[in-house]
Amino acid sequence: MIVTIMILVPLLAGLLCLLPFGTKGLFRISIMGAFASLAAAIYCCISPITGNVLDTSIWYIDSLSAFFLLITAFVSFATLLYSKDYLKTEWDEGRLNAREMRWFYFTMFVFISTMLITFAVRSAALTWIGIGSTTLVSAFLVGLYKDKSATEASWKYIMLCSVGITLALFGIAMLYAASSGFIPDDRALDWPALVANAANLNPIFMKFAAILFIIGLGMKAGLAPLHNWLPDAHSQAPSPVSGIMSGALLNCAMYGIMRFYSVSEIVNPDFARHILLLFGITSLLVAAAFILVSKDFKRMLAYSSVENMGLIAIGLGIGTPLALFGAMFQVMAHSICKPLVFFCAGNITQIYKTRIMSEIKGVSQKMRFSGFATAAGGLAVAGAPPFPLFIGELLIIGGAIGAGMYYLAGALAILLAFVFAGLVLHIFPMLSGTTDKDVSEPASRLRAASMVLLMIFALFFGLFMPEMVRDVFDSMVLILSGGSI
C-alpha cells in the first residue's frame, strides 16, 4: 500500500501539472510535488533500508531496492527544485512556451514514477517493463527543444535503447526458460525466487541470458562500446534533465544488471563477472580518451558518466566484498556529484549561451556562487578528496589489489589519473580569467539551494561513514553476492 502511494504521488503531481493553472501555479505544483514525492519515498523506504524486507505480491523492497529508491527520490527532488527557475529563465528568454513547460513537468513526474517502479517490483519482468518505460518517457525530455540537434539526439536515444531493451527481453525469456520446471509459473521471474532456486537453474540458458541481459541493459546504462547515444542525449537535453538522467536513469539499468548478477554468479561463477570487467575497462578507456579531447562542457560530463558506470561495472566484475562495497559507494557518490556539476553547467551555459568550453572565461569573477559550485563539483567528479567519488575509486582499486588483480589496479589508477587531469584541465580554465561578456549570477534562491543541498551531501559522505550507513552497504554487498534473501 505505501509503495503504491509512493508511485502514485509523482504521477498525480504530473497530472496536476497538465491542468491550466498558469505558470505560477504550475511552478507551485511542481515544488509541492517534489516535496510530497520525496516524503512518500522516505516514508516507504525507512523500514526496508534498515533490513526489514517489504514483501507483497508485486512489490519487493530490500535494502538494495530501498537504497536505489532513496537515491532516485533525492536526485529527483534536487532536479525539480533546480528546474523551476531554470525553466523560468528559458521562458523569459522565449526558448520555451507555457505548453512546453507544462509538458516538461508532466513527463518529468511520470519519468520519476517509472524509475521508482523499476526499483520496487519483485519480478524481473516488471523491472524490465519499468526500464522500458523510462526510455519512452524520457525521450520527450531529451527532445524538449524541438531543434535539429535535440531531435537527432532523441531519435538516436530511442532507437538504440529500444534495441537494448529488446535484447534484454530476450535475456528475460532465457531466464524464464532456465527457471521453468523448478519455480511455479507465476513466481518464475521473481528476483527472490530466482536467488533461492539458483542452484537448480539451467547453466547454459543462464549463460545466454547473461550475455543478452548485460549487453541489452549495458546499452541503456551507457557502457562502452554501446554508449553512443549517451553523450548526445546528455548534451542536448535541458540541463536539469541531464542531471536526472545521469544521477538516476543510468542507475535503473545498473540495478537490473546487479539483480541479474547476483543470480548469475551463483549459477555460473565468474561468467557475468568477466563480461562486466570487459565492458568496464572499455568504458574507462573510451571515457578517458574523449574527456581529454572534449570541447563541449556537457558532452565531457556525459563521458564522465560513462567512466563512472564503467567503474561500477568493474567493481561488480572484481566481485570481492570490498569491490562490491566500492561499486555501491560509487553509485551513491556519482548520483550526488553528477547532478551537481550538470546544474553548474546549466547555470553557466544558460548565461553564457554556449557549451563550448574555450568560449567560457571568467566564471568565478562574474558569477561567484556558480564559480564556487563548479570548482567544488569539478573536483568532486574528477575524484579528488574529500569528495565521495575519491573514496569509491579507492575502494574499487583496493578491491582489485585484494583480489590479486594487480594489472587491473594499475590500469585503473592510470586511467583515473587521465580522467582527473582531463576534467580539471578543462573545468578550471573556465573559472579563471576575465570576460567582456555581460554575464551575472542568475538570481535564484531555489537553484542555489538545490546545489548547496547536493554539496552538503557530497561533503558529508566524503567525510563521514556512520555506523547505520555502513550497515546498509554491508547488507547490499551480501545481497549482491547472492546471500540471504
Binding site: L136, F170, M174, A177
Partner: protein, 220 residues
C-alpha cells in the same frame, strides 16, 4: 492435425520469417519493405497459432491474435500514414549494397547456428530449430538498422528484431508469462507512437527523413 504435420508447419513458418528478413535486406524501395514486414508478422502469427494448437496453450492463442492485430494491421497502417504525411520518397538509401547485404546476412545466419549449438542440444522441443532462426532474424534486423539510412527503414529493422524476439521466446519455453507478453506488446505500441512523433519532427526540422543528416552530433 497430427504431431508431425504441426511440427513441419512450425518449421516452415519460422523459415519463411527468416526468408522475409533476407528479402527485406534485398529490397531497395520502402513499399516492398513494409509489405515484407507485414508478411513476416503474418508468418509469426501463423507460427504462434500452430504452436498454440499443438501445445493447447490458450495464452499463445491470445498472443497470435495480438500479433495479428498490432503487427499485421495496426503498425503497417501507422507506417504508411507517416510515409504519406512526410516527404519521404520511396527510394531507400543504402550504405551497403544489395550483394554485400545478402552475403552478410548469410554470414549472420551461419554465425547464429554456430553460437546456438550448445543451446540447441539441450532442447528437445519441436521448436528448437526456430531458436536458431530467431537469432538470425534478430541479427539481420540489427544489420538493417545499421545499414539503411531512412528513418522508416530503421524502424522496420527494429520491428523485425522484435519479431525475432517473439519467435525465440516461444521456441524456448512456449512464450513467457502472460504479463511479460502484454508488457512487451504495450512497449512496442508505445515505442511506435513515440517514434512516429519523432519521425514527424525529423521531417519538419530537416525537410527529409534521411538519417544520414543525423550526423551533426559528434566529437570534432
Amino acid at each position: 492435425m497430427d504431431q508431425i504435420l504441426t511440427n513441419n508447419l512450425i518449421d516452415i513458418f519460422a523459415v519463411c520469417m527468416l526468408l522475409a528478413s533476407v528479402l527485406a535486406m534485398a529490397s531497395v524501395r520502402m513499399q516492398p519493405l513494409i509489405r515484407l514486414f507485414i508478411l513476416q508478422s503474418l508468418f509469426l502469427a501463423a507460427f504462434e497459432f500452430t504452436v498454440a494448437y499443438s501445445q493447447n496453450e490458450p495464452h499463445i492463442y491470445i498472443m497470435a491474435a495480438m500479433t495479428f492485430g498490432i503487427k499485421v494491421l495496426l503498425i503497417p497502417r501507422m507506417l504508411k500514414y507517416i510515409m504519406s504525411r512526410i516527404k519521404a520518397d520511396d527510394e531507400m538509401s543504402l550504405s551497403l549494397g544489395i550483394p554485400g547485404s545478402i552475403l552478410l546476412s548469410a554470414a549472420l545466419i551461419i554465425f547464429s547456428y554456430y553460437v546456438s549449438e550448445p543451446l540447441i542440444i539441450t532442447l528437445d522441443t519441436a521448436e528448437r530449430n526456430s531458436l536458431v532462426l530467431s537469432f538470425s532474424i534478430m541479427l539481420i534486423g540489427m544489420l538493417m538498422m545499421a545499414t539503411r539510412r531512412k528513418a522508416i527503414s530503421e524502424v522496420v529493422g527494429l520491428l523485425m528484431v522484435e519479431n525475432g524476439l517473439f519467435l525465440g521466446a516461444i521456441a524456448l519455453s512456449n512464450g513467457m508469462p502472460f504479463i511479460v507478453e502484454l508488457g512487451a506488446f504495450f512497449d512496442v505500441l508505445m515505442a511506435m507512437i513515440i517514434i512516429g512523433i519523432f519521425a514527424f519532427r525529423i521531417n519538419k526540422s530537416f525537410d527529409s527523413v534521411d538519417t544520414t543528416l543525423l550526423r551533426r552530433l559528434k566529437e570534432e
